[in-house]
């Protein structure tokens, strides 16, 4: 049934129609019930002069679209971005089963707001901070800390490309459900929120690179590339648009100034430290970054979320390589043209031991799935994509004492470092020799399973002083 307010708004239709030439728009629809809401905004000087909707929806959805336009018209973009499902529900009082109808209008409004922001640039405001919201507990607590610090946060969620065939796409941090959760987390604290649709760009810049890397026999780390080259660049651009000098995320890392340089430093919680993932964020962006969780542990974060009653307190952790959506990355590669050539499995002497279905299925150090019987366990030593060959041998053959990193950047002078050669492995002591487009690492002790394409991150004490991509051995 319909509340009196729902009937009033659904039949008022004072805001139905188009917003005129030059308007931006956003649409949302429900594939099952066929409802659709389109909201148009005409924006001048960061203020919404006209908000209109065209709706084919039940009275709940129609009333929500009407109300969303009524609330948005006359407000500036940041004010309008605080309007969400909870505000609409408060007035329309839909039953639980009809909240989805109301959310359609909120979705359409926010898509239109994102489009409006794309054409606007708000004047800078000193205390304003752009907070990256994933819908998870970490970013929700980071936002809470920004509010408690008396800053003026503006939430943003990047909607990235997710494999449509993924088994568990909804758990990824950029799924539509996560975008709604992030928006709700902001609105619960009265904070404006924008969702930016970067699916195409992400697919082009990050996913294609991941696919071509595997085709070439490398083992790329898309998360490092995403953070360093894509995500933080998008966040910085967003911060500029909303006039925020600073940006914040819920990563477990810290920023320190040392000798006039801005360096990334490990998070205080050794179990959650995410500095490896952020190692290639450019220093110009790093200077603007604030990581409110850098000084605390994940357990503290969860406790704070619980105390504050944040809805995100119980959400599951998002995953690495989010766009694979919980699936097997080999199946993902094969679905999306990341499969490398099939060919022979050979030993270090070039003797053929068997055949394999594609070089993308192998990474140095791998033991399973080789499919060749031998007296001692065989490991992948090297992937030679050009020749379609996978070289295998006993574990001793995996060990390397020298690693070439190119391209690589040294961020501060350092001769002796601890080098982390893969995510979730212990760093090893190394001596750095700069040269060429990067540097070479002489490892104090041999390391097994160094994979070309992975990121090497150099630490001086807790600070990141260098990072780059591990090159194939021939280049070294």
């Amino acid at each position: 049934m319909y509340s009196a307010a729902t009937v009033d708004h659904a039949l008022a239709l004072r805001f139905a129609g188009g917003a005129g030439p030059g308007a931006v728009s956003g649409e949302a629809g429900d594939a099952v019930c066929g409802d659709a809401v389109r909201i148009e905004l005409r924006v001048a000087d960061g203020r919404i002069d006209a908000a209109r909707h065209r709706t084919f929806a039940c009275p709940h959805g129609t009333a929500a679209a009407e109300l969303a336009c009524r609330l948005a018209e006359g407000r500036d973009l940041l004010g309008a971005a605080t309007i969400g499902s909870s505000r609409l529900e408060a007035e329309l009082a839909p039953s639980a089963g009809n909240r989805g109808c109301v959310a359609l209008a909120a979705d359409a409004l926010h898509e239109a707001l994102a489009a409006a922001l794309g054409t606007a640039e708000l004047p800078p405001a000193e205390g304003r901070v752009a907070v990256a919201m994933s819908g998870g507990v970490d970013s929700a607590v980071a936002l809470l800390k920004a509010v408690e610090a008396g800053l003026e946060p503006v939430g943003v969620t990047l909607r990235l490309w997710i494999d449509p065939g993924a088994p568990d796409g909804e758990r990824a941090c950029c799924s539509p459900r996560s975008v709604r959760a992030a928006r709700d987390a902001c609105h619960a604290l009265g904070v404006p929120h924008f969702g930016l649709d970067l699916r195409e760009q992400f697919r082009r810049d990050v996913v294609d690179d991941f696919l071509s890397g595997f085709r070439a026999g490398l083992t790329p780390n898309p998360c490092v590339r995403c953070n360093g080259g894509f995500r933080f660049a998008a966040l910085a651009e967003f911060a500029d648009r909303v006039g925020a000098p600073r940006l914040a995320t819920g990563h477990y890392a810290r920023v320190r100034r040392r000798h006039g340089r801005t360096l990334l430093v490990r998070g205080a919680d050794p179990a959650k430290d995410q500095s490896y993932m952020l190692a290639s964020v450019p220093s110009a962006i790093l200077e603007r970054c604030w990581f409110p969780l850098g000084e605390q542990t994940k357990a503290q974060t969860r406790a704070e979320a619980g105390t504050a009653g944040l809805a995100a307190a119980g959400r599951p952790e998002s995953q690495d390589v989010c766009f694979v959506g919980g699936g097997d990355h080999r199946a993902f590669l094969e679905r999306h043209g990341g499969a490398g050539p099939p060919g022979e499995i050979v030993d270090a002497g070039g003797r053929t031991l068997g055949r394999h279905a594609g070089v993308h299925r192998f990474t140095p150090g791998q033991r399973r799935g080789i499919g060749v019987a031998a007296r001692e366990p065989l490991y992948v030593l090297e992937v030679q994509a050009g020749r379609g060959r996978v070289v295998v041998g006993p574990r001793a053959g995996l060990e390397r004492r020298t690693v070439t990193v190119t391209p690589g950047r040294l961020l501060a002078p350092a001769a002796r470092v601890q080098a982390k050669l893969r995510y979730r492995t212990e760093p090893v002591w190394a001596t750095v020799r700069p040269g060429g487009e990067g540097f070479t690492l002489d490892l104090d002790e041999p390391v097994a399973g160094v994979a070309p394409g992975q990121t090497a991150v150099l630490y001086d004490d807790d600070a990141v002083v260098g990072a780059g991509v591990i090159a194939p051995e021939e280049a070294g």
């Binding site: 319909y2 009937v7 659904a10 039949l11 239709l13 139905a16 129609g17 188009g18 649409e27 429900d30 099952v32 019930c33 066929g34 409802d35 659709a36 809401v37 389109r38 209109r52 065209r54 709706t55 084919f56 929806a57 039940c58 009275p59 129609t62 039953s95 639980a96 089963g97 009809n98």
Partner: protein
């Protein structure tokens, strides 16, 4: 109060039914199972009502099982004829939920259900029905007239098809009985379901008319009323009101078809008539208003003082559009844009003319609102 044009949903209690019921709501309140004067008076009234119903429905009194309404009668027929060991049944694609959901439940219990298709006007395809019904099927079910479109089904031919295969035929006559005589013998059905409140009777009473009542096991067990086929203290005022209402319906002059035609003429150009090619119930109009959500038009008309129904409302938790309209080939979006107007025996020219004007006014305001275009 507003003008009521939603008689397919329910009807007001007619004066004949009300008058007949009155004593049984007050001084004659007895339990028909008791031998004293109160009980005997109740028993006499019950059996008189049953006799009236039987006569009007071309059946013997012993073939009339009084129930709590149409849904119970449909349930008892479908579950009763199907039996408990899994088998095969044939059911039309446009049945009321009171038949459709029991069939789906049987499907979950391991039965095979063949859904008989309809044509573009929502009329069951007799040839397809003939191909689907096979000897050994537990039952075949089709409604006499559809509650959404008003389309009248070729019941006698469908019953003949079933009879040819030796399959019992159940017919939901709930919607049809308010508009024309329905009867057990002439229909050829094994079972008929009716409801009182659709034809000027009280809510909470209906009946299952069965050629062989002994083949239909009870849904409700207890004191053995209705010859053990439907336990529970008999609803005497309900039965009396039901019989009086059905008799009054048969006797009344019916101007609904003329009123409906007048309405359709007044709205020509504003609407498309759904199932226009079918024989339809006389007071029934399902109007397609492309691009406008029916629920909004219903709310707007309610403000103007007219009560009509959305043909396919989107209920919470049931986002699928009407299975009836989709079965006859309507798009999911159009199925959200149908308004059901169902006239009653008392609907007047003034009602129809006033409604048509209000309808056009509301439709115009919604269309001018620029709601639907371009989405």
């Amino acid at each position: 109060m507003s003008v009521y044009l939603d008689h397919a949903a329910t009807t007001p209690l007619g004066p004949e039914a009300r008058a007949a019921m009155e004593p049984y709501l007050s001084e004659r309140f007895g339990n028909a199972s008791e031998p004293h004067a109160y009980g005997r008076a109740a028993r006499a009234a019950l059996e008189a009502a049953r006799a009236t119903l039987a006569e009007l429905l071309e059946a013997e009194p012993g073939q009339v099982i009084l129930t709590s309404g149409g849904s119970e009668a449909d349930n008892q027929a479908v579950f009763g004829l199907a039996g408990s060991a899994p088998g095969r049944i044939v059911v039309s694609a446009v049945e009321h939920p009171a038949v459709r959901e029991p069939a789906r439940e049987l499907e979950r219990r391991g039965f095979e259900v063949a859904w008989a298709p309809v044509d573009g006007d929502g009329v069951i395809d007799v040839e397809a029905f003939e191909r689907l019904v096979r000897p050994g099927d537990r039952l075949a079910a089709a409604m006499w007239a559809n509650n959404v479109t008003g389309a009248v089904q070729p019941v006698e031919r469908l019953a003949a098809v079933a009879a040819e295969a030796g399959v019992p035929f159940h017919c939901d006559a709930v919607q049809a009985a308010a508009s024309f005589p329905v009867g057990l013998r002439s229909s050829g059905a094994a079972t008929l379901a009716l409801s009182a409140h659709k034809l000027g009777g009280p809510k909470g009473v209906g009946c299952l008319v069965a050629r062989e009542p002994g083949r239909i096991p009870p849904l409700v067990w207890g004191g053995g009323q209705e010859r053990g086929l439907r336990s529970g203290t008999e609803n005497i005022p309900g039965a009396v009101g039901f019989a009086a209402a059905l008799a009054a319906t048969r006797a009344a002059e019916d101007r609904r078809a003329a009123m409906r035609d007048r309405l359709e003429a007044a709205l020509a150009g504003d609407i498309a008539v759904v199932s226009a090619g079918a024989e339809r119930l006389p007071g029934h109009l399902l109007a397609l208003v492309t691009g406008i959500r029916a629920e909004l038009l219903v709310l707007a008309l309610d403000r103007e003082g007219y009560a009509v129904a959305a043909g396919s409302a989107c209920a919470a938790g049931d986002a699928e559009p009407s299975h009836v309209l989709v079965a006859q080939g309507m798009s999911a979006r159009d199925a959200r844009s149908v308004v059901r107007v169902s006239l009653g025996p008392g609907t007047t020219e003034a009602d129809v003319d006033g409604f048509a004007a209000a309808f056009r006014g509301c439709l115009g305001r919604l269309r001018e609102g620029g709601l639907a275009e371009a989405v």
